[in-house]
Amino acid sequence: MTAVLDVDQLLADDSVHTIVCCGSGGVGKTTTAAAVAIRAAEQGRTVAVLTIDPARRLAQALGLEHLDNEPAPVESIDSSAGGSLDAMMLDMKRTFDEVVLRHADPGKAQQILENPFYQAVSSSFAGTQEYMAMERLGQLHAEQRDGRARWDLIVVDTPPSRSALDFLDAPKRLGSFLDGRFIRLMMSPAKAGGRAYLKVVSVGVNSVTAVMSKILGGQFLKDAQTFVAALDTMFGGFRERAEQTYALLGDASTAFLVVATPERDALREASYFAGRLGEEGMPLAGLVVNRVQRTHVPSLKEARAEVAAEAADELPARRGKGWQPGDTASLLRLHADLAATAARHEAAIGRFTAAHPTIPQVLVGAAAHDVNDIAQLREIGDELAG
């Protein structure tokens, strides 16, 4: 017997303050995050949903033409239970800029913001998005209103990445870069001014620097050095924050929802992720499988439907332009196709279950349409709650 994920129980648990939706690209993470957030808000919780890259229609479904870095209230939810929902979209560059402005003195901050390395790192470095999502999450949790936390639940969508694991690894990667040897190396000519330093190091530095400027051009290296020197001021701040947010994810107040589709690759990714959460001691609430094919006649299996369709082809035609046995045959074939897909999905999910029998799961059916409004998100919420 498979463990069933009880979303309502999760939402009712007021010791849970963060729900992180993760999974590989294209599995419906953002939709799941939005549906979970709406359901929580309508059950009375004060919720913020942090989306990363919502489809235009989803933003519109939340009643927001332009989601941006600041949370905006979603008016169309049912607030009769006393809850509320704010929605926002991560603006990676702005979040990064704010970190710089907060941690560096004004003169230096400007220098950093104008550096081409900074501009590239803040807008495109793989990992910045993940890091900034965590940074923003930390900020949201710290926000106060009337003397207490402004939100008691924050639902986070994770950046689109090839692997769900990126979300966990990226902040560390940024941290280790800032702590890296090369950074120290680039810093050293500036720092060593007036000081005698070891000849050995100097030889190493000079030849590395020489090679770098030969390959990349002098300006490239100079910009890199300025960037690194400027960042040096914020070193402590960055590392500390990265560690703090990482610790927050391991806290009992956080719950991870791993999202997948019933396809081999997405479930394999979910499986890796679940294993990794276990290793890191991070709390996994369960698996959400989106877009599961179901049929309207579950008892009619594919093979039986195929046989019946063959037989229907042999039935004598009716007179007139009405329904023909051939039409019955096509309906049966249509059903057989769906039943085959449904069986394949079931088998794929079964393999996951066999590997992770204790992870609670919930299945969400495939819908013909993309989500267009709040009512549809609510329906997904209903499905999530079983």
């Binding site: 309207h296 009716r318 023909q324 096509s330 085959a340 013909a368």
Partner: protein, 332 residues
């Protein structure tokens, strides 16, 4: 399609995540591998997608055979690793030897391949560029590593513009120097008629919207667009006659129930109502698909169609897709 792309040596395949980009790239590589031809299928995201789709061991820096085309040609596979590409690049152009190892020790390689903006992408495409440019008889080029075409399983639509905008990435940084020159040469190839960027989509709202956005972005770069490949297309099992009847409000279920009874099925509201609903779902879906098809047609690009494989993807299925692709003439 084999003759539709004469002259194109670099096929770049992108698409929204989940549309089957890697599968289509693999099928395309196989379909181009006609008799006596050799095609390289390369991936750049460290995802080992080729290994998954073709069911072969993990790929590394060595180019190894991963498939045979329906026409008998060879498909070789390569997973480009930015670190290896950087070291190879340094070795090739600077004969660094020891210095290469030193760069690695000092963390320069890490820096260059993860943080230095744009450099990672230049290195990744640079390796692909090198493979495209190999010619027989050149010094250091192995005969079995000369390719008639290279198929690149590129990053998804959301990132592909940034990935391919090699020059823009470098413009703010390396203004002169060998890396800048390398970026320029890559860019010349990417913008030439030897390159085609293909987009994979499903007949669903979001993938089609992303395709439309990506086409606009790629056109602005400008990069030469190839085809739109509509993947996982389903032929409706019910014809128009049946669909029209089903869609009508006053659909009479009696004849359907009679047929089902004749066939020995247990006739009840679940069966009859369920099958009618199944048919109506199909009608809805086909309407939606038609809208998406029209949006795609509005792009003015040649299109190809690949069927949904009911049994999922296996070696036979991939060969089926490759054959289907090879036999199609582009619809313009």
């Amino acid at each position: 399609m084999t003759s539709d792309w004469d002259g194109v040596r670099l096929h770049i395949v992108t698409g929204k995540g989940g549309t089957g980009k890697t599968t289509v790239a693999a099928a395309l590589a196989m379909s181009l591998a006609t008799e006596g031809k050799r095609v390289l299928l390369a991936e750049v995201e460290g995802r080992q997608g080729i290994s998954g789709v073709l069911d072969v061991p993990r790929l590394g820096e060595d180019e190894v055979q991963v498939a045979t085309g329906p026409g008998g040609g060879q498909v070789m596979g390569l997973a480009v690793d930015p670190k290896a590409a950087l070291l190879e690049y340094l070795q090739m152009f600077y004969k660094l030897g020891m210095a290469g190892g030193m760069l690695e020790r000092f963390g320069v390689v890490d820096f260059a391949t993860t943080v230095a903006p744009g450099l990672r992408d230049v290195l990744l495409i640079g390796k692909v560029y090198e493979a495209v440019r190999r010619r027989p008889g050149r010094r250091g080029v192995r005969q079995d590593q000369v390719y008639d075409a290279v198929v690149l399983d590129a990053p998804p639509t959301g990132r592909v513009g940034q990935f391919l905008a090699v020059n823009q990435a470098m413009s703010g940084l390396a203004k002169v120097g060998p890396v800048k020159n390398q970026a320029d040469s890559i860019n010349d190839l990417l913008q030439s008629d030897q390159t085609a960027v293909h987009l994979v989509t499903l007949l669903e709202e979001m993938p089609v919207q992303e395709t439309v956005d990506a086409v606009a972005e790629l056109r602005s770069l400008p990069l030469p667009l190839g085809a739109v490949v509509i993947n996982q297309e389903r032929t409706p099992p019910a014809d128009e006659h049946a669909r029209n009847l089903l869609a009508a409000n006053d659909f009479d279920t009696a004849p359907l129930a009679d047929d089902l009874g004749e066939l020995g099925l247990r006739v009840g509201p679940t069966l009859v109502g369920g099958l009618v609903q199944t048919g109506r779902d199909l009608v809805d879906r086909l309407d939606l698909e038609q809208q998406e098809r029209e949006t795609i047609a509005g792009l003015g690009l040649p299109t190809y169609h690949l069927p949904l494989l009911a049994d999922g993807l296996d070696a036979g299925g991939l060969l089926q897709l490759a054959t289907s692709l090879a036999d199609q003439e582009a619809q313009v």
